[in-house]
């Protein structure tokens, strides 16, 4: 497994091969660093809100009082250069400005840039080989003060790793729900296949 350096990242982006690294738009060449690539804050947000329900239910129990996870989030949008205020203890889902396409033998770690980690906004996520879409970002402000974020600012960085074999992103028939997205999407925890099995186990407990 190799960590890609500046020349390899640039080379893969410029490659005419269909199975290469693709970042669009790459507004500045300077986004490519020594061993990483800076990614920018996107413009669509899903902001968590409080509801009458005491908790988000990840169980799929089909009863009339079940409230979908999407209803705990409010959609909003900003334009490039505008600001978005991230309040302490609030979950906000968004994406990178860039549409990213990874080759089938490359995965990426997405980490916050240190300037934002120091404000109490850490990011740590992984993108699978073969991914297509705007990278989902889950923002959370661990600090005490609201933080004003600018749309289009470089909030995170990607480290790219090449692996020995090419793998299929869409295998197992259940991956495509996060494929080709250009806006943030809420958690699908309540539609996890294993939930039904776990509920059955719960029902037969002594």
């Amino acid at each position: 497994m190799d960590l890609l350096h500046r020349e390899r990242i640039a080379e893969s982006i410029k490659s005419p091969e269909t199975d290469s690294l693709f970042i669009d738009p790459l507004l500045e060449e300077s986004q490519i660093g020594s061993v990483s690539l800076d990614l920018r804050l996107g413009y669509d947000f899903l902001v968590s809100i409080l509801t009458r329900k005491p908790s988000i239910e990840t169980s799929t129990a089909p009863n009339h009082s079940h409230r979908g996870i999407g209803s705990y989030f409010q959609e909003t949008r900003r334009e490039l250069g505008e600001t978005f205020v991230l309040y302490p203890n609030q979950v906000v889902l968004c994406t990178t400005l860039e549409y990213v396409s990874l080759p089938h033998n490359m995965y990426a770690d997405i980490l916050s840039r240190s300037s934002y980690t120091r404000l109490g906004i850490p990011l740590n996520t992984m993108v699978q080989p073969g991914f297509r879409g705007c990278v989902p970002l889950e923002l959370f402000n661990h600090g005490n003060s609201p933080v004003e974020l600018v749309i289009g600012s470089r909030v995170c960085q990607a480290r790219f790793f090449e692996i020995d074999i090419a793998v299929e992103y869409s295998q197992n028939n259940n991956i495509r729900k996060y494929f080709g997205h250009v806006r943030p999407t809420v958690s699908s925890a309540d539609s996890d296949n294993e939930m039904q099995k776990l509920r059955n186990i719960s029902a037969i407990l002594d």
Partner: protein, 368 residues
Amino acid sequence: MLTKFLRQWGESILLTKTNLQLLSGKLEKIAETPYFSHDLNQYLEQLRVVTERLLSDFNILPPGITEAMTDQIWIATKFLSGSTSKKIPYEIVHCLKKSLEQWTDKKAIITTAVTQEKGYSFYFQGMPQDFYSLAAAYTGVNFTGELVQLAFPEIYQHRPLLNVALYHELGHFLDTHHGIVNKSLLMIPYDELALPLQNNDFNTLTDQQKQEIATHHRREYFADIFAASYSGNAYKNFLKEFAGNNPVCMTHPATEDRLKLIDLFLSKQQNEIISLFQNALTTLNLIKLELAFKIPDVTEAFSNTRPYSIQNEKELHGIFEASATYLNQLSLNSDEEIDTERVINNLVEKSIRNSMTVDRWRDCGPIT
């Protein structure tokens, strides 16, 4: 014209005043969430001043004037409210703005409202010029822009390929704005140009009814050709799928006839209706209707589930036909269809958005 705008005064004075007061409150609430657009914010402020002055001078203004203006403020409020709901098809609105720039030097501000039913889903609602004249005369407010009020189905918010009908609605705005169909009626009266509607079914109608129908139908034909001039077969095919079996009625020609006219226009064939519009446009010193788009080859990008990099404004409009054609020629099983339709629409949306982002980044110059 003014008398048409000032319809028979019918409300009680109290109801008009109540409506105005409620609209004032609603506009104040809308203003609490500023728009992205400075032009829209400015329009909102001017509308609020008009509303406040109508209220403060309520007792000395003619009731008919106040009532008619209140009705228009109500309509504008609906669209201004829709534009804060975050349910705007931002990317196609960007395309519409680009086409609008070619047709008017005046500041025209596009606002959208969402609809919930199929039957009356896409429409344009005009703001009469008389409203602006009366606002200037009675409240001293000279609006610096005009609202372009377009409505679309909420469920299509993230389906740019299903929103190409908004080009048609923009065509209605430009027709009203420039008086294009009215000019055509002066050049060739309704009874001298046989439209497909004029068959036996309409023989029992009065001349006035026939003239009204002909005017409506000419408006639809103009808006169709306008839409086709920017989005080509993407619009034609959407019209066919969305309203393919609609027969002729008082307000619209039969879809079949509309599709035939669009085909003639797209294949650059002559037709007396198209020629009439072109001549009216020339008389009004406007540009002619022509194919204002270039169809990019999106196959390589979309086959790899990547957005296409739009090269110029003609491709910005042309991406609709390119993408619709790409989607239609895919051989998909029923499990794949819906997911692929979603992804292709996402790619269209992102292609347009990337083009907007790159343009804005470039236009702001180098980093200093």
